[in-house]
């Protein structure tokens, strides 16, 4: 996609499938990937078909990606963060539960 507005937000750097991309703070992960002309975000769990963002408003769940090792993240609902690592979700995704150690952040291992 092409940017038509006045770019006055600071840039952040994100990683998508091992490649570094410049993104704009405040953008959703989906927007950032679309700006880089990436329209395929995942493969489906049943038939392994390619999918990408459809509704962009958190309803369709077709933009699921893996972010910093956490699967099933809605790319359209999450904002980019500097250093964020994004991977296409393959099938059902790799589910890793946070450790029940009372860590309030609940980060995935």
């Amino acid at each position: 996609m092409r940017r038509i507005d006045q770019d006055n937000q600071p840039q952040v750097t994100i990683e998508f499938e091992g490649k570094l991309l410049a993104a704009r703070r405040g953008d959703s992960v989906a927007s950032a990937l679309l700006e880089a002309d990436q329209w395929t975000f995942r493969t489906t769990p049943v038939n392994g078909e390619a999918r990408g963002p459809f509704c962009m408003m958190g309803v369709c769940f077709d933009c699921l990606v893996e972010i910093d090792g956490v699967a099933n993240c809605q790319a359209c609902m999450m904002e980019v963060r500097d250093g964020m690592s994004i991977k296409r979700q393959q099938g059902a995704g790799d589910i890793r539960l946070p450790l029940p150690n009372g860590d309030k952040k609940g980060d995935a291992p």
């Binding site: 489906t44 459809f54 609940g106």
Partner: protein
């Protein structure tokens, strides 16, 4: 952290913002919850931080949202952003998730203002990468100033035309607009024209969009009766039929749209009664004069009840707030009635155009109920139309039973993009009204949340995960 409020509102679109601002003017505690990081909902998305400097691109109707956002900001209502509401129980226990942490609050009065979503558009290839809803394309435009040159716009309805018009104003080339509005609809809409003429400005606006698109040299192809999107790993071609002839356009981006429908998942999961609308072809929540549902203390306002548009939603939000304030004991009935009166009048004025719009943009049956066997109905579980028809032939008579037959509707979107299609398909196959077939039984959590979040609910002081 506060765990009880007099009034809690879910959704910060026009209805929710207006309701929260009105409620906060009175001596009650008000909580507004919304999934986005900024108030505005979908229609006024990013209006308070818009970076597109040329205001003629998004247009004056969009910037009207700024007033609602400023009113909300100065109202004193507590607004939690980035918060997903995954439950409203009949006892008004509200489950919230934000930044990977879940908690519960309770409220004496709840106003559900979850707005609209786009109607499913189950045509062959609608799941291919490169195919997006027109509303989705507009989200990218409004929230990030992003647009895709040379896309094909296909479908019907005001939003499709508006997004195309906004693209044109922004100087983004459009490959073609394929208009699937059935020609017969004009005839069906004619009886509603006299009442629509009282909103002549809106009618002229629609004509102006089309005329401008045509004048700009964008192929505006009317009378498109059928549509197929083709490609292996992404869309590469659109085929469309006019009469008996098929035509094709090579393209890598298609924006689909055929109207919006109420986003009913939260209200339905709370147990609020809904009725099938034969006019809007979707579920309408059953609400009274003050927007209260059949469950005491739970009101539903705005496009989440029935599609009326942003301005109607605003008035409905205010009326719902006055009703809730009265039930809280903060307003006497006579005060409530007189405060609501001007908004009631404005609302009825706003709704005069609606029957005409509903009739003229009603999507045709074959674009709602796929004829092809392989067309995907349930995007999440990848259930094709044939499997649904086969299940009905085997004796499956309802959407809930269909889940066990096919997993249809059991994926993460929880039926949001197949529910209407499935109810209509079963009704057609069984030869009964859609109202008899019903909808999926929806249960909390209506949005996925981590098991860890749910398990940690009790660990937080003051939060108890209800009985349900």
């Amino acid at each position: 952290m506060k765990t009880h409020y007099d009034i809690a509102i879910v959704g910060a679109g026009p209805a929710g913002m207006a309701a929260a601002s009105i409620a906060a003017e009175h001596d009650v505690s008000v909580l507004l919850l919304d999934e986005q990081n900024d108030a505005g909902g979908q229609i006024y998305r990013a209006v308070s931080r818009q970076n597109i400097t040329d205001r003629s691109i998004l247009g004056p109707d969009y910037y009207k949202g700024q007033d609602l956002v400023s009113e909300l900001r100065s109202s004193g209502a507590e607004h939690i952003t980035g918060a997903t509401v995954w439950q409203v129980s009949p006892e008004r226990e509200i489950g919230i998730s934000k930044d990977g942490k879940a908690w519960m609050v309770t409220a004496d009065q709840v106003i559900i203002a979850t707005g609209a979503q786009e109607r499913p558009f189950p045509v062959p290839g609608w799941t291919l990468p490169g195919v997006m809803s027109a509303g989705g394309a507009q989200v990218a435009l409004k929230s990030s100033g992003l647009a895709e040159p040379d896309a094909v716009f296909a479908g019907s309805g005001p939003l499709l035309l508006l997004v195309a018009y906004q693209y044109m104003k922004a100087g983004i080339p459009i490959r073609a607009i394929l208009d699937t509005t059935p020609r017969i609809n004009l005839l069906r809409a004619l009886p509603h024209l006299p009442s629509a003429l009282t909103s002549i400005g809106e009618l002229i606006k629609g004509r102006h969009w089309i005329a401008s698109l045509v004048t700009a040299g964008i192929p505006f192809i009317k009378g498109v009766e059928d549509l197929k999107l083709l490609g292996e790993d992404a869309v590469t071609k659109v085929e469309y039929r006019i009469g008996k002839r098929w035509h094709k356009i090579d393209t890598t981006h298609v924006f689909l749209h055929q109207g919006v429908v109420p986003n009913v998942n939260l209200a339905m999961s709370a147990g609020c009664a809904h009725n099938w609308s034969k006019v809007q072809l979707c579920w309408h929540a059953q609400t009274d004069r003050w927007a209260e549902s059949d469950i005491q203390g739970i009101a539903i306002a705005g496009d989440g009840v029935a599609i009326g548009g942003a301005l109607a939603a605003e008035h409905q939000g205010r009326i719902a707030a006055f009703g809730a304030l009265h039930r809280c004991g903060a307003l006497k009935s006579v005060e409530r009635d007189s405060l609501a009166a001007p908004f009631r009048k404005a609302l009825s004025r706003e709704l005069r155009l609606r029957p005409f719009l509903d009739a003229i943009f009603q999507p045709p049956k074959h674009l709602r109920i796929p004829e092809g066997e392989d067309t995907i109905v349930c995007r999440c579980e990848e259930v094709p139309a044939a499997l649904i028809r086969d299940s009905v032939a085997l004796g499956c008579v309802g959407p809930n039973q269909l889940k066990s037959f096919s997993r249809c509707g059991m994926g993460p979107c929880q039926g949001r993009f197949c529910g209407l299609t499935v109810s209509e398909m079963i009704a057609e196959a069984c030869g009964v009204p859609v109202s008899e077939v019903g909808a999926y039984r929806l249960r909390p959590p209506v949005k996925p949340l981590m098991l860890g979040e749910l398990a940690a609910l009790n660990a937080e002081p003051g939060s108890t995960p209800g009985d349900g």
